[in-house]
Each structure stands twice: as C-alpha cells, then as structure tokens.
C-alpha cells in the first residue's frame, strides 16, 4: 500500500518533468515499470480536469452534485480507456514493425505521463481564450507523447511518429464511436462527458 502511494506520488512528480519534455521522466519509467502503472492516474485526473473545464455543460444541464461527481469519474475513465487503446494500438504497430523492446505497460505509462499537460484542462473554462487553450493542450500532449515514445523506444523517428499518430487515431476513433454508442446510456443516467450528446 505504502509502495503504491509512493509510486503515485513519484508519478505525479514525474508528470511535471514529462510536461516540460524532460528525458529523465520517461527513462525513469523504463527503469521502474511499477511507476508506469501508477502513472495511469494522470489521465484519470486529466479527464476530471477537462470535465471541470467544461463546467458550463454541467451548469446548463443543472446536473446535481452526485451526477457531477459521477461525470468527473466517467470522463476520467474515458481518458484512461483512450490511453490504453492508444498504447495497445501503438504496441501492435511497433510489434509488426519488429524490433520492439518496450513492454506494453511502459508504453501505456509513457502515454499516461504525456497526458500531464491535460491536467491543466480545467483552465479551458476561461472565457474566449479557453477554447484556444484547449487546442494548445491537445498539441502539447501529442508532442509529449511523441517525445516519450522517442525516449523509451529509441527507434527510428519515422516509426515513432507513425506509431504515436496511428495509436492516437485509433484512440480518437474509439472515443468518438464509443461516445456515440454509450450516449443513450449516459443520457439515461443523466451523466455528462465532453464530446457526449449533452455537449
């Protein structure tokens, strides 16, 4: 338990370094795969942060306290699912390309750590420039993922970019279509997620 908490604390500490594109943050994951698992908490918090950033949806829907909490958790889980799909897709692609020496756990941890800029998603609530910030955070996250892949894979640049981009596209598609499929259920539960039917 103490070890898990310690890993969580270290993962959150590494998030700052990852956002600043520090090589050490990602090499640490390769050396300590347990932190890679703990790093999965970052997309969870990032999802909740984004949902807070879209508070106008919650207010407009007059969502109650418990539903707000549930919406925050669901959005975090959607983010986590996106990370797992992204890493799995990238892993498959890298395996097909051959010469992959990175475990799926480390790959997932790398993407999770690269979600660090998204922890600031709550700031997208700001008027007018919030929307610009939202896109900037997307770009920043993608750069972090690319950099993280480059550090942990150490492979050819082309392969790093293609695997990161392909994984992101599969993840985006899953989020998009998954969101559509789950919309009736979310609507019935009166839960709100970014990009969902209530948005």
């Amino acid at each position: 338990m103490i070890s898990l908490l310690s890993d969580l604390a270290r993962a959150l500490g590494l998030a700052v370094d990852a956002a600043l594109l520090q090589r050490a943050a990602f090499t640490h994951l390769v050396e300590h795969p347990s932190i890679a698992l703990a790093a999965l908490v970052i997309p969870l918090i990032a999802g909740a942060s984004e949902m807070l950033g879209k508070a106008y949806v919650l207010a407009a829907q007059q969502v109650g306290r418990w539903r707000i909490m549930a919406s925050l958790i669901v959005t975090g889980l959607v983010y986590l699912l996106g990370v797992l799909v992204w890493s799995a897709s990238a892993h498959v692609l890298l395996s097909l390309a051959g010469g992959l020496s990175v475990s799926e756990t480390v790959l997932a941890g790398t993407i999770a750590l690269a979600y660090a800029p998204r922890l600031l998603s709550v700031l997208t609530v700001a008027p007018y420039y919030g929307e610009f910030l939202d896109r900037a955070l997307d770009a920043w996250t993608f750069v972090c993922v690319g950099w993280g892949f480059w550090v942990v894979i150490g492979g050819p640049l082309g392969l790093v970019i293609v695997s990161a981009a392909a994984g992101w596209m599969v993840s985006a598609a899953v989020r998009h279509y998954g969101g559509r499929l789950s919309e009736p259920l979310l609507r019935r539960l009166r839960l709100v997620t970014p990009g969902g039917g209530h948005d």
């Binding site: 007018y128 420039y129 929307e131």
Partner: protein, 349 residues
C-alpha cells in the same frame, strides 16, 4: 534581486490573470442554472388599438465602457455626452442605466459577490481619490465579462441575459411590442461588444430595426452582428485599445472571410468612421474636451452619433413598407439599407 522580484511579480500577475479569467464565467453559469430552461419568448401581441399615449418610435440604449461599477456610474464626460444627445434627439427615449457587465444586471455593489466590499469601497471614494489599482480591478473584472460575451460557449447565455435586461429597461421606458420602433444601441469600448452580443436575442423580441453605434468599440465577430441593420464603428486614429481588440479577435482580421464581421463589412452594413488624433479615453478621447478642428471632440462625437441616427432614420423611412418599421432584417436574406452604399461609405471595416 531585482530579477527575482520581477519574476515573482510576473508570476503573481499570471496567477491573478488565470484566477480572474477562470472565475469570470461563473456568474453567468449560476444565472443560467437559476433560470432553468426558458420558455420561448411569446410572439409580440398584435396591436389592435392605438394606445392612449402615442408610443415612442425611437429608442436609444447606451452601454458604457468597462470602467463602470453600475448602470448609473457614468463619468462626467459620459453624462455631458448623453445630455447633449438627449437634446439633439428629443423624440427618442433614452435608456442609459443598464449595467451590461453582469448576467444578473446587478451592479458590483449589490448581490452576493465575493469582492462586494472592495467594489463598495471603490464606489464610496471620491473620483479623484480612487486608486488606480482599484479602478484597474474594475476594468479587469469587466474586461473578462466582455470575453464571456464574445465566447462561443458562454456568449449565448450571457447575451441572452443581457438582452433580457435591455428588454426590461425598454419596456419600463415605454417600449411596446408591435409598434415597430427603431432601436439604436450605442456602445462605448467594451459596451459595444455587449450591445452586439445582445442584438442576437433582442432581434427576436424587438420588431423594429436595430442599429449599433460603436464608439471605440472592442467587438468580437459575434452572431449578433448578423441581426443589426446598420453598424457605425467610430475609431480614433490614436485609439490603441480598439486596435488591440482587432488583434485579439482573429475573426476581424482582414484575411478572415465568412465571419460575422466580414459579412457585415462586405454587405455594406458596417461603416467605419475614422476620427483623426482621437485616443480611447482622456482629454483626447471620444468624449474628451481637446479641440479637433474648431470644436471639442465630445461635441464632434455627438454630431457624428446624431448623424448616424438620422441616416438610420432616413434609411428606415426610405425602405418600402411591408417589413417591421419599414426596414428589412439583415439576417438571412439581407437587404441592408446600405447595400446600395447610399451613404457614400466605402464599406471598409
């Protein structure tokens, strides 16, 4: 040492900016959550009989700049301008008490606000003793509300609220649905954005043509611009605040095509009126006393605004009957009174 202090100052300023901007939409969100889902506004009742007292055919709503703390806290320069305007357009009913920087319409001195004590202290101090810091706080607070109005997410809610406030004020001033009265919105600085934002919903309830006169307006390309029959945009050549507004809103850049601003400009509804050597405020400002070409600037501004109102009145009268107020709405099938450039404007915005 100095570098450290500067660093901390910048960091503190950045944190304050982030906090203030993050908190800015909350009032609008709370307003909306209290409103619930609004029923669609009822259609204006048909006028079956002439009212006993002849209803006014022209209404003017003045929305001040971001330095105001309430709807009635007009500066002495503004009061001078408004008095002269009242004198110049005696038939029009003027409304100048709307506080446009809050969805609730409550001035900063009233209502449950975290910083209400601060605003009260500011208001209680004599004008010459108001510390620049406090005055700037009001400016900053209201500036963020301008951004809320310009935001695609919050704007529709905020502007709906503001349109409701304006409508209530107009009703209190004697406006009656179905009369086809003309409405002139005059916005100073950020007030112009508020007016443009509210125009979208005002056009839904107001059955006459609507005009906007922007005085050094900091306006985004907002959907409300599509609902305005005419937009006169007064711009001082030394007005850096207005210029900053152009920079801040990319949809107003000359390369931007298809934005509401570009559409208004290309249709000829938007007329830019340049004023030489005029700054945003102060003695050389739009309402200032500095002389430009024989008379004080504020008199010049009054004359231009009255001219804009007169042109609008003439354009409405020249339009064939059949549309409310003898004027077509510009949204959709736009038939602007200035589509044929009768006023000689070049249509450049």
């Amino acid at each position: 040492m100095i570098e450290d202090a500067l660093g901390w100052l910048l960091l503190t300023g950045f944190i304050a900016f982030v906090l203030a901007s993050t908190l800015a939409p909350l009032e609008t969100l709370f307003w909306w959550s209290r409103q619930g889902r609004r029923e669609p506004a009822p259609a204006p009742a048909p006028v079956t009989a002439k009212p006993a007292v002849r209803a006014a055919t022209e209404f003017i709503v003045y929305l001040g700049g971001i330095d105001r703390i309430s709807g009635t806290s007009n500066s002495s320069r503004e009061r001078r301008f408004l008095a002269a305007l009242r004198e110049g357009v005696p038939d029009a009913v003027m409304v100048d008490s709307v506080f446009p920087y809050a969805a609730s319409g409550n001035p900063l001195l009233h209502g449950p606000r975290i910083f209400s004590r601060l605003w009260r202290a500011l208001d209680a101090a004599p004008a010459h003793q108001r510390r620049p810091l406090l005055a700037n706080l009001v400016n900053a607070r209201n500036f963020f509300q301008v951004l809320v109005s310009a935001d695609r997410r919050y704007g529709p809610v905020f502007n709906l609220a503001l349109a409701g406030l304006i409508e209530d004020s107009l009703r209190a001033a004697g406006w009656q649905p179905g009369g086809g009265a003309r409405l002139t919105l005059i916005g100073l600085s950020g007030g112009a954005q508020m007016a443009a934002g509210a125009a979208d919903d005002l056009a839904g309830v107001f059955d006459g043509p609507i005009q906007l006169i922007s005085i050094g307006g900091v306006i985004a390309s907002t959907p409300g611009l599509n609902r305005l029959a005419r937009i006169d945009h007064l711009v001082g050549s030394a007005d850096r605040v207005e210029a900053a507004g152009v920079l801040a809103f990319p949809a107003r850049w000359p390369l931007s095509r298809g934005s509401e601003w570009a559409l208004a400009r290309s249709s000829g509804r938007l007329k830019r009126i340049p004023l030489a050597n005029v700054t945003h405020n102060g003695p050389r400002g739009y309402f200032g006393g500095a002389h430009h070409g024989g008379r004080p600037q504020w008199e010049e501004t009054v004359a231009i605004v009255m001219d804009c109102i007169e042109r609008f009145e003439n354009a409405c009268a020249a339009e064939p009957a059949g549309s409310p107020g003898g004027f077509s709405r510009p949204d959709g099938s736009v038939r602007s009174s200035h589509g044929d450039r009768r006023d000689g404007s070049d249509g450049r915005g």
